[in-house]
């Protein structure tokens, strides 16, 4: 969990409007649904009922832009073609640690087609020295192989690439370290000459800056709840495990990149980003431009997973080259650069000890973690241990270990897949030691009301019922097992976002927000909200997003987009509808309160006139356009329902002769407040499960220890789950109303399976074989070694 101040906390607090008391549905229909009262601003629209009583919201709708994406019409950043556009290419460091003595670009500048050369002045991404004076020298110190040093802009991609090879860089080599264990040794080459910190981004990532640093070890960041010494004394049983997880890269299909067009008075940037606002802020700050002179556009986005906030090095360099050359500049990273220089999920090395009473009550949790975020920070992974269960005492120590590798960035549920991999397997170990079912133990120690329902759904599932209570029960070399694990994520709300809704006299409707659709489908949801409010089908709504010319949207990180933006959109839609009805009521000879918008018609509640179509009613507007803007109001009761999550069950087959783990089926039971569009929500969970399986079994960023270079910077030997690795995934979406906003939506991206599936697979492997695999990726080499050792410490 990010304990750093959120963007909201940094802004002055808005005054709270006058409140009124409302009754809202809360809980899970069919299980715990009840009514609770809330204080909501008086300006809020009427409370929505649960999904089954709504017409469009809460029901599956196909993707707003599905046909565009499927047909290739969708214009991604790399599809943008501007007249006179130049193509830029980075020149990257080929060494993991070095001082740059000189950069000679003269030959490159003379190369035919080259229009501009830029030498990087400040590298964005790595941790920054607390005392910047320790880095003396004209150029930034190279701290990882692949660090950008310069860039070329030329009339063709080939010319840029060829000229890039002509840049002569003179280095003074420095000793380096790329191995976590070696980097912790007292005589390890220091990655930084003094303490260094990395700020967090909107989606998490980065680490604490108020901690001690010894050599390459940045930490520990210590968190204590009561006294674990006492807790372990009171324990009847103690379980312990040592867990290791690898570095994973985001590997979005679309690499990082921008097209920058610097014109007098306006810098326009098309960016593959999770935050149009974050790109604008960084560019305005870097180039000292007023916000009004920077425009960022993200029409379509090919995946980010946490790595695409801010302008970053590509954004700054493309803008600088555009300014210098007077021409638009495209700078898209290639796959190798994508692996090396724009983020990753940090590794972890965790020692976890849990004490419990005979009845399962947890008396103490003690976690010491080391992990590397390369030359960045953010390897903490204590979130699950801290936030999933009830305990009498807790002690966590999180350490970042610097190595000479690309800086990490936020990656889907930062720290949580790592933390849950250790925690949820150790909880299963505890269940074995206490001789109770793992699902029953969780009922004892987890008081989250929605996960209780989710476990009930799991308990009643055929998959869970098929689990053998005896580990390793199957005869023969291929053994089947079933395991579960739980996830947790947090409700982060961004009130710094707004939307505008327009009603035109021709009956057309549009919604505008600078929010970017990073692939999770916010466009479709916005159309559904207007449809619900105006009683017209979503297909009639025009959704305009991904442009900072529109009202500011939230950055999409931390699962904030839907829950932050949709209440503002609904409020704007409701206000626009009220204005619209007030405007046309005189022409219809009724009072506005007599008018109803339903089924594409405007009707009189008292039957004063025959229903007329929405379009005919709009023609009675007294202006060509009615608009309303609304900003997100704070949650109605921010003290309640701060976390959500789910329970994932994996069925695996372990071929014990080959060490092969195959995931056959997954049951994924998740909650995210009011699901706005179940089809899209399920798609998010499918994606999280697949990404989590890929992390658990296959992906690994491999650095050669002697040369400090990544040996698999591609999508071939960097192995990602393919079609045959993807199991049957059954998602059970749990509606869990929490009474927090006019839409009562929550987020799903982070909690969606990726947190818990690794531990569920680990627990299933144990159930299959009686052996615990405490290391990812669970390759044949790793699994065979674990089987040979019979499950002793990895």
């Amino acid at each position: 969990m990010s304990n750093r101040p959120t963007e909201d906390a940094l802004l002055p607090q808005a005054a709270m409007p006058a409140n009124s008391t409302v009754k809202m549905p809360v809980g899970v229909p069919g299980y715990t649904l009840h009514e609770e009262t809330r204080q909501a601003p008086a300006s809020e629209p009427p409370v929505w009922p649960i999904n089954k009583d709504l017409q469009y919201v809460g029901h599956s709708a196909h993707r707003y832009d599905g046909p565009d994406k499927a047909s290739g019409r969708a214009r991604y950043t790399s599809d943008v073609q501007l007249p006179g556009m130049l193509y830029a290419k980075f020149v990257n460091a080929a060494l993991p640690h070095a001082k740059v003595i000189s950069v000679d670009t003269s030959a490159a500048e003379k190369y035919p087609g080259v229009r501009g050369v830029y030498v990087v002045e400040h590298v964005l991404g790595p941790a920054e020295l607390r005392n910047p004076a320790l880095d003396r020298g004209r150029y930034p110190v190279v701290r990882f192989a692949g660090q950008p040093i310069a860039a070329i802009a030329a009339t063709t991609p080939a010319a840029a690439q060829e000229a890039a090879t002509l840049v002569r860089i003179q280095y003074e080599k420095l000793p380096f370290v790329v191995d976590l264990d070696k980097a912790r040794e007292s005589n390890a080459p220091p990655v930084f000459p003094g303490p260094a910190d990395e700020e967090g981004s909107a989606g998490g990532g980065g680490g604490p800056s108020d901690v001690h640093q010894t050599g390459n070890v940045h930490g520990p960041s210590v968190h204590r709840v009561r006294d674990t010494e006492q807790g372990f004394k009171e324990a009847d049983v103690i379980v312990e495990g040592h867990y290791i997880t690898q570095v994973q890269t985001h590997s979005a299909l679309e690499t990082h990149g921008v097209v920058a067009d610097w014109k007098p008075g306006m810098l326009t940037v098309w960016a593959s980003t999770q935050g149009t606002a974050s790109v604008r802020e960084e560019l305005a700050g870097y180039f000292d431009l007023p916000m009004s002179q920077v425009r960022v556009i993200t029409e379509f986005m090919g995946g980010g997973f946490g790595a695409k906030f801010g302008a970053g090095n590509p954004g700054v360099v493309a803008a600088a080259l555009s300014k210098k050359t007077g021409a638009p500049v495209r700078l898209m990273l290639d796959r190798q650069e994508e692996h090396l220089s724009v983020g990753n999920r940090p590794s972890s090395d965790q020692t976890l000890r849990i004490g419990a009473k005979k009845d399962g009550t947890l008396t103490a949790i003690h976690l010491v973690s080391y992990g590397t975020a390369g030359c960045g920070t953010g390897a903490g992974c204590a979130g699950p241990a801290t936030n999933l269960y009830q305990y009498a005492s807790l002690h966590t120590e999180e350490n970042d270990v610097f190595i000479n590798a690309g800086p990490a960035s936020a990656m889907r549920a930062p720290g949580h897949p790592q933390g849950a991999f250790a925690l949820e397997q150790t909880i299963d170990d505890l269940a074995v030691k206490l001789n109770v079912e793992p699902i029953d133990l969780r009922d004892k120690i987890d008081n989250h009301p929605v996960r209780r329902v989710e476990r009930q759904i799991v308990r009643e599932s055929a998959l869970w019922k098929s689990r053998s209570p005896v580990p390793g029960a199957d005869q023969g070399p291929v053994k089947r097992g079933v395991g579960l694990a739980q996830s947790v994520w947090y409700r982060f709300v961004r009130t710094n976002c707004a939307a505008e809704v327009r009603v035109h006299r021709d009956g057309s409707l549009e919604v505008l927000s600078a929010v970017q659709d990073i692939g999770s489908g916010i466009k479709t949801v916005l159309a559904q909200i207007l449809a619900e409010q105006f009683g017209v089908p979503p297909s009639q709504i025009a959704v305009k997003v991904g442009d900072t010319n529109y009202p500011v949207g939230p950055d999409s990180g931390g699962s904030v987009t839907t829950l932050s933006l949709t209440p503002a959109v609904r409020d704007a839609a409701w206000q626009a509808a009220q204005k619209f009805l007030a405007d046309i009521a005189p022409a219809l000879g009724v009072s506005p309160s007599d008018l109803v918008l339903v089924d594409g018609e405007v009707r009189s509640g008292s039957g004063k006139f025959q229903p007329i179509s929405f379009r005919r009613a709009a023609a009675k507007m007294t202006a060509s356009q009615i608009t309303a803007q609304a900003r997100r109001v704070p949650d109605y009761d921010p003290s309640k329902y701060l976390t959500y999550g789910g329970v994932d069950v994996a069925e695996v087959e372990v071929d014990t002769e080959l060490g092969r783990v195959h995931v056959r089926r997954v049951l994924s039971v998740h909650d995210c407040g009011r699901p706005m569009n179940p089809e899209q929500t399920i798609s998010q969970i499918n994606g999280g499960i697949i990404q989590g399986i890929s992390f658990t079994l296959f992906e690994d960023r491999l650095l050669d220890p002697k040369y400090g270079l990544m040996v698999n910077p591609d999508l071939d030997l960097y192995k990602i789950a393919g079609a045959r690795e993807i199991p049957q995934i059954d998602v059970r979406l749990v509606e869990a109303y929490i009474g927090q906003s006019s839409t009562d939506a929550s987020g799903i991206g982070e909690a969606a399976g990726v947190v818990s599936i690794g531990a569920a697979i680990g627990n299933a492997v144990y159930n299959a074989t009686g052996v615990r695999v405490r290391r990812t990726p669970m390759t044949p080499a790793v699994v065979l070694a674990a089987l040979r050792q019979g499950g002793t410490q990895a």
């Binding site: 291929v478 002769e657 080959l658 296959f698 040369y707 030997l717 789950a721 045959r724």
Partner: protein, 333 residues
């Protein structure tokens, strides 16, 4: 990628006449273009033979099969005659790479692809196979490397088709404009790195691979190939096995066992073959053959796990070939 001249040919003679001045032949282009994009090969001249119709197609003769080198992996794997009598070949071609690549990749290109060692494939490492005097794999990351029959370079044979063709006793026809045709066996096609690390095959610069000739298997022959990776979709073999059994009722008269991902050049396992010859094929004899298939292996620092995998690959593929077991769900699908 460097700039290069492109000669587009539609006949064998035209292609042969273009093989000069350091020209490199491009068929499907799957592996060659990867090498060019990664900056490890910079040919000044490409001879595109993709459209030489006479190099494509499968001909069944009394003596066996003649396969044009431009025949795609997909065409081979789907060919009814090959499926019926040369199962090992249809298995190997049908489980390489991905469906997309199999539709584009030619069998000739598959045979002639370069090793996948990540040091060889990276422009950052100037290794033995690129004319330098150092191999990075011994002290570096070698989990996917060879466990036997290496000295200078432990990269492994990458071609699945070669594992099958070696099992079938196939040979290739090489044609030169000056010297005419010659025939070499599959094993002899490859140059072991110790002999000449930069020369991957015996093909001379003016020669073109013009045919793959496969003798007709003896009556009673059954065969199979299986590949094991870390993934099923789109992965290289970490272990594989080709098995050709000449059966006389329940007795195996003669066995050929081939392996790819164990050594720098595709190999036969005489020990495994001897373990089966003259014996009934049973789980017991198959496992015995598997056990001895890694006899003499010397794993590197990170690949001892392959000593467990090859015996399993061999015994399960022997049983598959003999019809005593189905296709292994743990093998690449």
């Amino acid at each position: 990628m460097n700039r290069f001249a492109l000669a587009d040919c539609t006949t064998i003679d035209a292609a042969l006449s273009q093989l000069k001045d350091g020209a490199v032949v491009k068929a499907g282009g799957v592996d060659l273009l990867d090498r060019m994009k990664d900056g490890i090969e910079e040919p000044q001249r490409l001879v595109n033979i993709r459209n030489v119709a006479e190099l494509r197609g499968i001909r069944e003769t009394l003596q066996g099969l003649t396969v044009g080198p431009l025949t795609t992996l997909a065409e081979i794997s789907e060919h009814p005659g090959i499926r019926a009598h040369y199962q090992i070949l249809s298995d190997a071609c049908g489980h390489a790479a991905t469906p997309h690549i199999r539709n584009m990749a030619t069998v000739g290109g598959n045979l002639l692809q370069r090793v996948q060692c990540w040091y060889y494939r990276s422009a950052n490492f100037q290794c033995l196979r690129k004319g330098k005097d150092f191999c990075f794999a011994f002290e570096g990351l070698n989990q996917y490397h060879a466990i036997m029959e290496y000295t200078g370079c432990p990269s492994v044979a990458p071609s699945s088709a070669a594992v099958a063709l070696l099992g079938l006793g196939a040979s290739v026809e090489l044609t030169s404009a000056k010297r005419g045709k010659r025939t070499v066996g599959i094993r002899e096609l490859y140059v072991v790195p110790d002999a000449n690390p930069t020369k991957f095959t015996v093909i001379e610069p003016d020669e073109l691979l013009t045919a793959i000739v496969i003798p007709r298997p003896a009556p009673g022959t059954r065969s199979a190939y299986q590949k094991y990776g870390e993934k099923e979709s789109f992965d290289w073999a970490i272990a594989d096995a080709g098995v050709v059994l000449e059966m006389d009722g329940p007795i195996c008269r003669r066995a050929v066992i081939t392996m790819g991902a164990a050594s720098p050049v595709v190999r036969r396992s005489p020990q495994a073959e001897a373990a089966l010859a003259g014996k009934p094929v049973t789980e017991e004899t198959a496992r015995a053959a598997g056990r001895v298939s890694v006899e003499g292996a010397q794993p590197l620092s990170m690949n001892a796990y392959k000593l467990d995998l090859f015996p399993v690959a061999v015994y399960r593929t022997v049983l598959l070939a003999a019809g005593l077991r189905g296709r292994d769900p743990s093998a690449a699908g």
